[in-house]
């Protein structure tokens, strides 16, 4: 079987082209993340600075605190003290963010959230007015920020992080997006036609003792191509993370949510990748059965890729499957899995049938 692999793999220009595109894609993901992260940090720093200005003005305009405040006024003076502390915390957080001191930002941001919660306790409504969120969300954010700060990590503010692990995870998630998978599988299949059907398939059928090997090799090489492509893209993205994301510290145990850590997301994405790659390669093979002309085949698979990207979430089986795999605690319909398994069974049956016949150009 290794010889069959070797016949397929001896396409150095194709492999170089795929590696180049993968590197470009990984760099693209890193570039977009860098740009969006810069935008979000600017916006956050600006928001924090605005709040600092407003709070500082409020504090400055407050009357002097009497030596013995009345009991009824104590909450007001406690709130004022907390607002003074909040000014400091937020100012330090914004300053740290502006110079990309992410540890400083995380520490001061956690302190600011603690102060805001205390303010909310003393003067209900005022803390939530500042954060424009619910009490439960505020508590959750604070818990997360404290947990992250205590573990020596830095906050991933929204979804954009240049820490190598996080950037690599983002790149893998992008690659696992169904249209990208199908598109890459199409590209590799179109460039490497004999993988699916050409006269060379007939040559292989007659030269191989066990024809099932051919199908396994076809599938294996297709999946290897896709996986190699993903590995290069993710590796390049991680390298860019090392260059650009030096100030960030994110471990595998980083809490992305209450139920999900970064490491868990990685594992589920990897677990999702293999069946997705097998499906995509099988779809390309099924396309060779359904549509004879290469141009028609490409059009069909592009339509599948576009549909997988455009169809709304509830009706998109691939989107649902990805959601189920990446967030298992989420309640979601299971029917997409049934649809995909049914498709996979159809593809497997079609591929086995294809083993029994050969299609390709004829001379007479």
């Amino acid at each position: 079987m290794l010889d069959l692999w070797w016949c397929r793999l001896r396409r150095s220009r194709l492999l170089v082209a795929l590696a180049a595109v993968a590197m470009l894609l990984g760099s693209g993901v890193a570039g977009v993340t860098y740009w969006r992260k810069a935008q979000e940090e600017q916006a956050l720093a600006a928001r924090l600075n605005r709040q600092v200005e407003d709070l500082a003005q409020e504090v400055a305009q407050a009357p002097a605190k009497p030596k013995q405040p009345k009991a009824a006024e104590r909450p007001y003076w406690q709130a004022l003290a907390l607002k003074k502390r909040l000014v400091t915390d937020q100012h330090h957080a914004a300053s740290a963010l502006e110079v990309r001191d992410y540890r400083g930002f995380t520490r001061n941001y956690a302190a600011a959230l603690t102060t805001t919660l205390a303010l909310e306790k003393v003067q209900p409504g005022s803390g939530l007015a500042l954060t424009q969120t619910t009490l439960a969300a505020l508590k959750s954010r604070r818990r997360r920020a404290l947990k992250v700060a205590a573990s020596g990590q830095t906050l991933i503010w929204s979804t954009w992080s240049l820490a190598p692990r996080a950037l690599a995870a983002r790149c893998l998630a992008f690659l696992a997006w169904a249209p990208v998978v199908v598109f890459v599988a199409i590209g590799a299949g179109a460039l490497w036609r004999e993988l699916f059907d050409t006269p060379a398939w007939r040559f292989q059928l007659l030269t191989t003792r066990r024809r099932l090997h051919l199908q396994a090799v076809d599938l294996g090489v297709g999946v290897s191509l896709l996986t190699g492509f993903a590995a290069v893209a993710v590796g390049v993205a991680a390298l860019w993370g090392l260059v650009l994301g030096g100030g960030e510290v994110v471990s595998w145990r980083y809490p992305l949510s209450n139920d999900l850590t970064l490491g868990h997301q990685w594992l589920t994405q990897l677990a999702y990748w293999l069946p997705l790659a097998v499906l995509a390669v099988s779809w390309c093979q099924l396309g060779t059965l359904a549509v004879r002309q290469l141009s028609g085949r490409l059009a069909l698979l592009l339509a599948v890729a576009a549909a997988a990207g455009v169809v709304p979430g509830d009706a998109n089986p691939l989107g649902q499957l990805q959601g189920i795999v990446l967030a298992p605690a989420r309640t979601a319909a299971r029917w997409p899995v049934v649809v995909l398994l049914g498709l996979a069974a159809l593809v497997a049956a079609g591929s086995l049938w294809r083993l029994r016949t050969a299609r390709g150009s004829r001379t007479a």
Binding site: R209, A358, A364
Partner: protein, 229 residues
């Protein structure tokens, strides 16, 4: 002794019948010319014998067994059109690959290469070879396994005179090889120099004949006269 047997075999492409209840038994080693008009189903017969296509009715057997992948692998070598070769691999790469599948050694590769005079271009990528050179590589791949049955699909098609001479000598040598060799060709003049056993694809049937007169005359009798009748 190897036996190729077709019994009441029918095959059609989407309601277009190619073979209808065709029967044939070949046991004698030697070279047989498979002759018929363009598009009559000569290559289809080869595909049926190799199990690449399945008849709708009837049976095909090779030494009494159905043409499964394993049986075909051990029994038949099919010299296909040169288009089946990988353009980016060399002739030598192809020969090494086939030799490894069939357990043949470097000496066997060398012998086949010498037989078809491949030395000058066997190391070049197939995509850079001429039609005749590619055809010789394709035939070499079919000779390598040393199977009891050899199928050659249009081996003389579009060849330069040098290649025609080489392949003709090869076919003459195969007469006494103890193998059953089926050669499909339109080049009746060349086939006549090699054999007088023919399988004529007449309508949807196969007719086995020994033609002692000119094959072209018999061809005309069978096909052109049938057309006018």
């Amino acid at each position: 002794m190897t036996e190729i047997s077709l019994y009441q075999m029918s095959f059609a492409y989407r309601h277009h019948p190619v073979y209808e209840k065709a029967s044939l038994t070949l046991t004698q080693p030697g070279v047989y010319g498979l002759v018929g008009p363009n598009g009559s189903g000569k290559s289809t017969l080869f595909d049926l014998l190799c199990g690449l296509l399945r008849p709708q009715t009837g049976t095909i057997t090779l030494d009494g067994a159905a043409p499964s992948a394993g049986v075909v692998f051990n029994t038949i070598a099919y010299g296909q059109d040169a288009g089946v070769l990988y353009p980016r691999l060399s002739g030598a790469d192809h020969l090494r690959f086939v030799a490894k599948q069939h357990g043949r050694d470097a000496a066997a590769i060398a012998a086949v290469s010498a037989q078809l005079d491949l030395a000058a271009f066997v190391a070049q990528p197939v995509g850079s070879l001429s039609m005749g050179q590619k055809q010789r590589v394709a035939i070499a791949l079919a000779l390598l396994p040393q199977t009891p049955v050899l199928l050659l699909d249009e081996p003389l098609n579009g060849l330069d005179p040098d290649s025609v001479i080489i392949i003709r000598k090869l076919l003459v040598g195969l007469q006494d090889s103890g193998r059953i060799v089926l050669v499909s060709s339109h080049n009746l003049a060349e086939l006549e120099k090699v054999t007088n056993h023919y399988l004529f694809k007449v309508g949807t049937a196969l007719q086995e004949e020994v033609v002692t007169t000119a094959a072209e005359a018999r061809y005309e009798e069978l096909f052109h006269r049938a057309a006018t009748e």
